[in-house]
Amino acid sequence: MARELWKGNEALAEASVRAGLVAYFGYPITPQTELLEYLSLRMVKLGRAFLQAESELAAINMVYGAACTGVRVMTSSSSPGISLMQEGLSYIAASEVPVVLVDIMRGGPGLGNIQPSQGDYFQVTRAAGHGDFHPLVLAPATVQEAVDLVYLAFDLAEKYRTIVIVVADGNIGQMMEPAEMPPMRKVKKDRPDWALTGADGREHRIITSLELGAERLEALNLRLQKKIARIRQAEVRYQEHKVEDADILIAAFGTMGRISQTAAEMARAKGIKAGVFRPISLFPFPDERLEELSRQVSRILVVEMNAGQMLDDVRLAVGKDFPVEFYGRMGGVVPLPDDVLEVVERIGAELNDEQR
C-alpha cells in the first residue's frame, strides 16, 4: 500500500474500517465530524452498520448494545460530547465489553471552542465515568500514528475486554499528512463466548453492570483492577527523541510532542542539550521509563495544551524531589516551537548558573 495524503479524521475512519469495524454510531461535533461523515458513506457501501444518533448519549448506548453482541464497534466525538458519553462509558467498563472511542479534543471547559486542546487528559485517563476504572488511552502525534493506533485499538479492546480511547487534539484530526493504510481485515464471523447471540442450545447469557451485593460488586472491581494491572504491565508505549545525552528533558504528548521535538532541535542548535519523551499510552503512563530518565537529566519540562494535567503523572513518576517545570497554554492556543524554546533556554541558563 502506497503512502497517500490523509486528513487525520478520515484516516482514523478508514483505518477503523480496515480493522474490521462492524458498526459505527456517532453524533456530529467539530473538530471530529469528518470521521462520522467519512463513515456515513464508507460503511453503508460496505453493507456495514452506520447510524447518526440523536445525541452522544444515545450514540454511546448504541455502541454499548452492539458491543454486547461481540462485534467491533466504535464511536467518535470531541470533548463536550465525551462528557455526555461518560454514563455509557462507565456501564461499558463495568460490563467488560470491548469498545473503541476516538476523542478529538477541543477547547473547554463548557462549550469552550473548537480549537485544538489537550484539556481532557484527566477526563480520559482518570474520569471517563463514575466508579473505579481506567480506559486504555493512546495518543498519536502524527496521522500515520493515528492510523496505526486505532487499528491496534480494536485488538487491545478485545484482548482486555476494555474501552480503548484514541485521544488527539483538533490539530491531528484536521491536518493532512502522508500515511500508509494497513491491510483490510475480514470482518470476523465468530463471536466471543461471552457475547449475546441468542440462547440457542446453551444457557442464556446476561451482560450487566449491576451487582447488588457489596461483596459481589467488590469482586467485580477486583477483577477490573487485575485487568488494569495487566494493562499497566504490558501496554506501555512511548517515543524518545535524543534523550541519551539530554540535560533538559521535555515531556509532552500528541501534537505537543512533535512541536517539542522541533523546539529541542532549535535548542540543540544553540548548544542546549534537550531531548523529548513522548508518552504514547497515556494510560498506562510510562512512569518507569520516565523515572529512569530522571536519573540522567537535570530537569524535566512538561509542555501541554492545558493547565498541567499530564504534569501530575510526571510528578508521580519522578517523585517530589525531582525538579519538574511546566509550560502550557489553554483555550485552544497552541504553543509554537519558539515558545517552548524560550522556556528551555531559560532553564538552560538557570542550570548554567547553578553549575558555576
Binding site: 462492524v22 445525541s55 444515545a58 448506548n61 448494545g65 454486547c68 453482541t69 464497534v73 446476561i206 453492570s209
Partner: protein
C-alpha cells in the same frame, strides 16, 4: 382409572427461567413477563431473541427471561437495542421499560427509536409511579395522585400533565404498531397477549417500530391491596389512558 391419560394443560414458558421473582405480591410484572415469554415461545423466537432490561423494578428481568439479555442504563434501552439490532439484523430485540425509564429519562431515546422506525419491540409498563425508588411521581402519575414526591397529590400547576406515550409515539411515521392494553383482569390480559404477539410479528416482518403499553398495578406504592390496585387501574388509569390500538399501519393490518 390407573391408565388415565395425563394431559399437560399449563406449563412454564421456555422463555422464562425457573427463578423466583423479587416482585411484590399483587404486582403485574410477573403477568407481563409471562405474556412476553409465551409470545416468544409461540412464535419460536426464543433462541434468536436479545432482551434489554431497564432501570426500575424490572432491573433484574434478565434473571427471569430465559433469553440472552443485557442491562441498560436508565432510559437508554431503545438506544442499546438499536445498536444490537443494527449490528445483528437477524436477531429479535425487545426492551422492557417502565414509565420513569421510557417516558422521563429515556423520552429522547424512545422518540428517536420510534421515529427511525427501529425494528425493535418495546414492552412499556405504565404503573403511574416510580416503584423501585419507593413511590415517587412518574411522568404518567395522574392528576391528584399522591406519591412520596407529590404528597399533596400531583398538582398540574407545578408538575404539569401526565404523558400519554402511546398517543405521542403513534404520531411518528416510523411507528408501525402501537397499542395500549391493561393487566387488570383476565379479559384484558388475553387482549394484551394478542397485542404482544402482533408486536413481535411486526418485527419479524421488518415493518418497523412496535410498542405495547401495559397499564399495570403497583399496590405497594399505591398503598393498596392487590384487588384494590387492579380496581384502581380500571377506575382511574383507563379513563386517562384509554385502551386500544393507536397505530396500525396498513402493512401491519395485512400481517
Amino acid at each position: 382409572m390407573n391408565n388415565a391419560e395425563e394431559k399437560l394443560v399449563f406449563e412454564r414458558p421456555r422463555s422464562l427461567t425457573d427463578a423466583h421473582t423479587h416482585y411484590c405480591p399483587g404486582c403485574t410484572h410477573g403477568i407481563a413477563h409471562r405474556l412476553v415469554a409465551e409470545a416468544l415461545d409461540e412464535l419460536g423466537l426464543r433462541e434468536r431473541t436479545l432482551g434489554i432490561a431497564p432501570v426500575g423494578c424490572a432491573v433484574l428481568a434478565y434473571y427471569y427471561f430465559n433469553v440472552d439479555m443485557a442491562e441498560a442504563a436508565h432510559g437508554r434501552a431503545p438506544a442499546m437495542a438499536t445498536g444490537m439490532k443494527r449490528a445483528n439484523p437477524d436477531k429479535i430485540l425487545f426492551t422492557y421499560q417502565g414509565d420513569g425509564d421510557l417516558a422521563a429519562i429515556g423520552a429522547g431515546e424512545i422518540v428517536h427509536a420510534a421515529g427511525r422506525g427501529e425494528n425493535i419491540t418495546v414492552i412499556f409498563i405504565n404503573n403511574a409511579i416510580y416503584g423501585m425508588t419507593g413511590g415517587q411521581m412518574a411522568p404518567t402519575t395522574l392528576e391528584g395522585q399522591k406519591t412520596t414526591s407529590s404528597p399533596m397529590g400531583r398538582d398540574i400547576s407545578i408538575a404539569g400533565h401526565p404523558l400519554r406515550m402511546s398517543e405521542l409515539l403513534a404520531t411518528l411515521d416510523g411507528a408501525a404498531y402501537v397499542a395500549r392494553g391493561s393487566l387488570h383482569d383476565p379479559k384484558h390480559i388475553r387482549r394484551a397477549k394478542k397485542a404482544i404477539l402482533t408486536a413481535f410479528k411486526v418485527q419479524q416482518a421488518g415493518l418497523g417500530f412496535s410498542m405495547v403499553e401495559l397499564l399495570s398495578a403497583c399496590g405497594t406504592n399505591w398503598k393498596m391491596d392487590p384487588v384494590e390496585a387492579l380496581g384502581w387501574i380500571k377506575d382511574n388509569m383507563v379513563p386517562y389512558f384509554p385502551l386500544g390500538d393507536y397505530k396500525v399501519t396498513d402493512a401491519v393490518k395485512n400481517l
